[in-house]
């Protein structure tokens, strides 16, 4: 029986609590009265994964069963989420591969010849062959990759993009030509958190910069409250408008999956337990890991964390018409992540872990850390932000991992040149976004190497726009001071110092809330 999430109030019986900070974690003794939001424990998984997938394909929502949509001579395209989901990467076999295998089995039975598989990576970096193989599985990889029918989406390949028109708000819809011209587009998603899926899958995953710029900008993101709640997110409204337009051009068969909260495999599972319930073994594992990390060189620490594979279980799989499917998916996601929190607080504390969507196998550079803390974690709310308007956010991350030149070349220039001038998302967007988006060298690296698109660091900064607009003070505990100051924030060495620094904004005895994730949670703030 899994227990729901709950809000702990720190008292004299509370042991120190785990706070993630990059490639490590610390034990923090929070002030008495601090609220700590714990995510629900893993909800029950489906008993038979293969059977659940089969059932979803044969009994889709608001749509004909998949075999009825397949016929000889048709053009079938299967698109799937890239390696930014789930986090950490799922232990093999990946759920997307298992679904794609069943879709292909049905396609083979129906005599479909023209099949292509596209990784919906939008402006993310191209995945390596090994990464593609991990997602789709060896069988699919061997059958399609050598023939060039399994590939990464290229948002800068002008010849292979199709402009489908504009929405009633004048937003361009430009997606993969192959996908747009298919008789059937099957999209296989992993709905790790509430912001994923729905019309965001095709409408964003297979879209080009021309299309993305309409919702990936500071103005839209400030109005997305939060982007974890698609009904109150301007970004999602835009994606929904685009999705409905896409629906007029191509039949989309959406397959969405939901996962449990089993993020950390053994022996790191103590990171998912409630601290006061740690057994002696958990305490010993934690001590061993902490001391190990203290002596390990940075490279080894990086390897230790990035080699973790999530032992996720499948909690649900739904297929059919995009919106009908997404509604059911969200139900499951909410069941797994939602925690009721009563009222806002003056200070919000969050630990930024080693991994975000854009540094799989890479480094968590300062811009990604900001995006993770002020973007994803800050926005993990429904209703109203966990911290009040004008409050303070305290984040934990050393901000010392540097930049990965292979994956994040444009980030370096963004950090060195753009942030040096301004840290206001709207200002930097208006002045520099176009230049970075159209830079031929970044486009070349995006298309031929494994670099994120030139405009990507701007998007990271936009994710954080709502938080920057909402709070008055952002303090990083344990961070490199110079880096924090370049980002427009301040650094403190301890939580006590951070609270002292924030006292000018929130007073000397502020109410504090700590979001105890990962595993993922979504605070339902009443």
């Amino acid at each position: 029986m899994s227990r729901p999430g709950f809000v702990l109030e720190v008292d004299d019986r509370t042991p120190p609590l785990i706070v993630h900070e990059g490639l490590g974690f610390r034990l923090e003794s929070f002030p008495l009265g601090t609220r700590v939001v714990y995510p629900p424990e893993s909800i029950p998984t489906v008993p038979d994964v293969e059977e659940a997938i089969r059932d979803a394909l044969l009994h889709p929502h608001d749509c004909e069963p998949l075999p009825e949509l397949l016929r000889p001579g048709m053009r079938l395209t299967i698109a799937f989420d890239d390696l930014s989901l789930p986090l950490p990467t799922m232990r093999a076999p990946d759920i997307r591969g298992r679904i794609i295998e069943q879709v292909l089995t049905m396609a083979a039975e129906a005599g479909v010849d023209d099949v292509q598989l596209i990784a919906a990576n939008a402006l993310h970096r191209r995945m390596t062959a090994a990464e593609l193989k991990h997602i789709v599985g060896e069988r699919v990889f061997r059958s399609f990759y050598p023939q060039g029918q399994l590939y990464n989406f290229d948002a800068e390949d002008r010849d292979n993009l199709a402009h489908l028109g504009t929405t009633d708000k004048g937003e361009d819809v430009e997606i993969s030509k192959r996908a747009a011209e298919s008789d059937l587009l099957v999209y296989v998603n992993v709905n790790l958190v509430a912001m994923d899926g729905g019309h965001k899958s095709v409408g964003i995953g297979l879209a080009s910069y021309t299309s993305l710029r309409h919702h990936h900008n500071a103005k839209t993101m400030v109005q997305s409250r939060s982007f974890m709640d698609h009904k109150h997110s301007e970004m999602h409204h835009s994606a929904w408008r685009m999705g409905r337009l896409i629906k007029e051009h191509v039949k989309v068969f959406q397959i969405e999956t939901t996962l449990d909260n089993n993020v950390f495999p053994k022996p790191y599972d103590f990171l998912m337990k409630r601290e006061w319930e740690w057994s002696v073994k958990d305490q010993a594992s934690m001590l061993a890991m902490r001391r190990g990390l203290a002596v390990a060189p940075a490279k080894l620490r990086h390897k230790m964390f990035h080699d973790l594979r999530g032992a996720y279980g499948l909690t649900g799989v739904n297929a059919g018409e995009v919106e009908a499917v997404h509604e059911r998916t969200l139900e499951k996601v909410h069941q797994q992540h939602l925690v009721e929190v009563q009222g806002q607080s003056d200070v919000l504390v969050m630990g930024v872990p080693y991994l975000g969507p854009y540094n799989v196998g890479s480094s968590m550079n300062p811009i990604l850390a900001t995006c993770m803390g002020l973007g994803y974690y800050f926005n993990s709310y429904r209703g109203q932000p966990v911290v009040r308007k004008g409050g303070a956010v305290i984040l934990y991350h050393p901000l010392n991992e540097g930049f990965n030149q292979l994956h994040h070349p444009s980030y370096v220039d963004f950090y060195e040149e753009v942030l040096a001038e301004s840290t206001d998302p709207a200002v930097v967007g208006a002045k520099y976004e176009q230049q970075f988006a159209e830079d031929p060298w970044y486009i070349h690296l995006y298309r031929t190497s494994h670099a994120y698109h030139g405009v990507h660091p701007f998007y990271m900064w936009y994710w954080a726009a709502h938080a920057m607009d909402h709070v008055d003070e952002v303090i990083w505990v344990g961070a490199d001071r110079r880096v924090a100051s370049r980002l427009g924030f301040r650094a403190a060495s301890t939580l006590a110092d951070a609270l002292e620094m924030a006292s000018g904004t929130v007073g000397t005895s502020p109410s504090i809330t700590y979001l105890h994730n990962p595993p993922h949670l979504l605070a339902d703030v009443r």
Partner: protein
Amino acid sequence: MSFLKETADDVRLVARGWRWGRRAQVPRSAEQWVPPARSTVFRTDWSRRRPAMAAREVAQKAGLEPLFRSQVRTRVEGLDVLERTSGPVIFVANHASHLDTPLILLSLPDAWRRRTAVAAAADYFFDTWWRAVGSSLLFNTFPIDRRGGAMAATPGEVLADGWSLVIYPEGTRSTDGWVGRFRMGAAFLAKEYGVPIVPVAHRGTFAAMPRGQGWPAPGRRQLTIRFGEPLVAGPDENVRDFAGRVKDAVAVLLDEDGTTWWEARRRAAAGSTPDATGPKVAQWRRVWEQTESPRADAPARRLHAWRS
């Protein structure tokens, strides 16, 4: 060096945070989310066999008793009732402290003590193997489930084997030293197996070592214990009435312990025995009254007349 220092700091932090050597605590706001303890079944038959009995004899006589006597003073009354009874019986006592069990066991005559087992909460004393082994070896405890559920050895089996039992019908230690609600398990067992109940009342254990304290307070506090006349359930008496009678007997004994036998008898006859559950006053006053150790009739200190 800094690595060693940080390691020591980490270990110290964990040792303090997770209360090494003490029972773990759950934050108050998380208490409602504690999963029900799984009732692990630890067998305790071995602890009632000869080798364990021998080991227990040594542990109690050579370890527990000297230690106990060095920390508290005791006054035992009413043991003569045991001379008129042949076992097994059920000793039913009020429960205010972890000192209650050693107090009762060490007050019993050796022959009785060796054949007495103590019913202990399965979720508290039997939650880990070492606690289970330790408590059953030292105190001859066997698990009973406070929440209801299957157990390895039922109290009935232990009784049927000819062992006397110590049962605290309150089910838990008192939070303020006064007697709580009596459950009916002990009365039920006595009626079911046809054994008498010996009411036992003791005072001073709460003052010496209340809940939450791990060692008796300094100064060799006084404890008093009094055994009452055995009670037998009448043929037509139901368990509820019998349990009430047992509770009244404990209350009279407590009264007697604080005053005199004669006064307590007269009050009992008049139906004005003081309520063992304590006065209906502010909680602090209830606790305050109980924090005072009972006075023994014997002088507190040895006379030093012969000291040179």
